[in-house]
Amino acid sequence: MVPGLAGLMAVLLLAAAFGIIFQYDGVYRAQKAREASVQAEILAASVTAALDFGDTASTQQAVDALKVNPQIEAAGVYTADGMRVAGYERRHGRLPARFTDAPADDGNAVEARAPVLRGGQRIGGVYLATIRDPISRRLTRYLMLSLLVLMAALVILVLGIAQTALRRANRELGERASALGAANAELKVQIEERVRAEEELRQAQKMQALGQLTGGIAHDFNNLLTVIQGSADILRRPGVPEAKRIRFAEAIVQTSTRAAALTGQLLAFARRQPLKPEVVDVNTRILAMIDLLDRTLGERFEIRTELAPDLCAIEVDPAQLESAILNVAVNARDAMAEGGLVTIRTAEAGRLDDGRRAIGLSVTDAGAGIEPEALARIFEPFYTTKAVGKGTGLGLSQVYGFAAQSGGDVRVESEVGSGTTVTIILPCSDRGASETAAIVEAEGLHRTGRILVVDDNEEVGAFAELLLGELGHQVVRVRSGPEAISAAESGNGFDVVFTDVVMPGMSGLELADRLKPLLPGVPVVLTTGYSDEITRSGTGGLPVVYKPYRLETLAGVLDQVLQPPPLAE
């Protein structure tokens, strides 16, 4: 595939070269003719006198002098009449006999004739014939030129071919590049699709977990509500005997307690349970719980403790700690149907990621163990391997939530058929443990006073009013912060302000702030079922009664609050 342009140029070059050669040939021929002519004239001049005076010898001498030139084929001197007087020829017959005769020429010769002049008068003539370069010599000369030209043409051709090849290679490269680009784009699209699919999968999994959670919650609460509603219905009927009334009321109370425990566990998992951390010594706490644990596990179980001495103090919510230990112990109990040994150990654990020292509290059983597949899911809320009715599935969730919120971790080691060890890792506290005396018990007189109840929920507010009334307090109920402020401004004065935290518009905390100047020295008690705000920023030093609250709890708090200025701790 000779490239067009280069091929054309090469051909043109060759044609031009041949043209030049032919042209040169013609020029050469003309030049040779001129040379011959000049030589004839020279000869004519040299033989003038000899010819004039008939000196044949001298004439022949002059002619013979040309023999040395190999290119001169024939030379002759003629009289004015055309008779040959002297001559020389390489080949016989080459020289014409008379001046005007045509020579025996093979066409290869260059001839010249010149007159011999004496004083302007023609006294004779000279004939000269030279041979051109023999063909071989000429061809050799032209061959050199042709070779050069050929080489040049070849170079041009090669360049042209190379350029064509290059262009083709470039084109191929371009095609491949665009193919690559297309493949890349395709790949990107696929990656995006993959990412999207993963997102959707994750979302689906989340929804599934959520569904599982809400389904579980609904299920449990429905059960509890059934008991509560049913019992209430019975209580509403007239003519119910006292013993029965008491029994059903008890049922409602118990069921509500369980419901409260349930929400507590849920909140613990959500890590929204507001903790009241205290600096405690874990070993002391465990020893204080031994009785409770004995009762919870039952007679068939033996509890052994291996508590490392001189452990650092930890800063945890004591109630939550208790719940966590209980939950783990209950699991250990359920794992050993026939009973057995449960070992509780405390020891120093390795440092946490942030560098703090930590301790480990572990509960070991010799039970059935946990399957490896289940191990990954045991902390999930409502995940349980126990039969229906035998467990809420929330125990370990609470443990996990408590540990995480306290800045620690939970680890489970289990071997099917051997047993399980659950270890709770908790960081050391900066402060020293001060096992203070327990809460000052509210003993003695049950105080009463004027209470401002603030709650935007009608039922809860009314119920609170009822309860407080039962306790003997005077109650004024409002439904919002601004209303409370108006009530405070009205000047009647209050002893306690009992306010919900989560309210539209002004929150309980805000209200407390606003009431400070209006009701100086009047304590504010907050009540809330759940508060992100409190978990984040605390209660601002105000006491909190968590919903759902028992009568005793409320009474106790109010008592404490109504007491004269506080006890030192």
């Binding site: 040299s46 006198a49 005076f53 004496r118």
Partner: protein, 184 residues
């Protein structure tokens, strides 16, 4: 003299033919020209190889004077030799003079007078005239002196003599002369 006789004797058969065959006369003469015919032919030719001094330079077209001084051995030969001839586009005129004094205006002078030849020559003095002699004129030589050698008419040239008279002779003519007495 003997040589001359021999020369003529060698030409005798031809001459006889010429006499016997009048029609062949021209061809015979053409085939073998006589001595004086050749000399007659040569005489005007010399003018083409001689340069006269400036004061003798002729105007273009002016004729060349060829003088026969003393005896005339040519006769009609010289006249027919110069007829139609041109030297430098000049016609040639033949004059026969008897004395040197009458030779003024000649360009070429053929001098023959037996014993009188040298007297005639010296009588020309320093005139710029090309003097031509031959063996019949005795030992005295002019600037050009005819001789017959190997049956051919040759000549000797005295270039020195010519130079003394103000004439210069072309080297080509000198080249074919038998001998040249070069000018100093």
């Amino acid at each position: 003299m003997a040589r001359l006789v021999a020369f003529f004797l060698s030409r005798l058969p031809l001459a006889a033919c010429a006499l016997l065959l009048p029609s062949a006369q021209v061809s015979a003469a053409a085939a073998a020209p006589s001595e004086y015919a050749v000399k007659a032919a040569f005489l005007p030719k010399f003018a083409g190889y001689v340069a006269w001094p400036g004061n003798v330079r002729l105007a273009p077209g002016a004729p060349l004077m060829l003088c026969i001084l003393g005896d005339d051995p040519f006769g009609r030969l010289i006249d027919s030799a110069v007829r139609g001839q041109l030297v430098d586009q000049r016609p040639i005129i033949v004059r026969r003079v008897t004395g040197a004094g009458a030779a003024a205006g000649c360009h070429i002078a053929f001098v023959q007078g037996g014993a009188r030849t040298s007297a005639l020559l010296s009588g020309l003095g320093r005139s710029p005239i090309l003097t031509v002699t031959d063996e019949r004129g005795g030992p005295q030589r002019g600037m050009v002196h005819f001789v017959v050698q190997d049956g051919r008419v040759r000549f000797h040239i005295d270039e020195a003599e010519a130079a003394r008279h103000g004439l210069s002779i072309n080297s080509r003519l000198l080249a074919i002369a038998l001998t040249v007495r070069q000018r100093p």
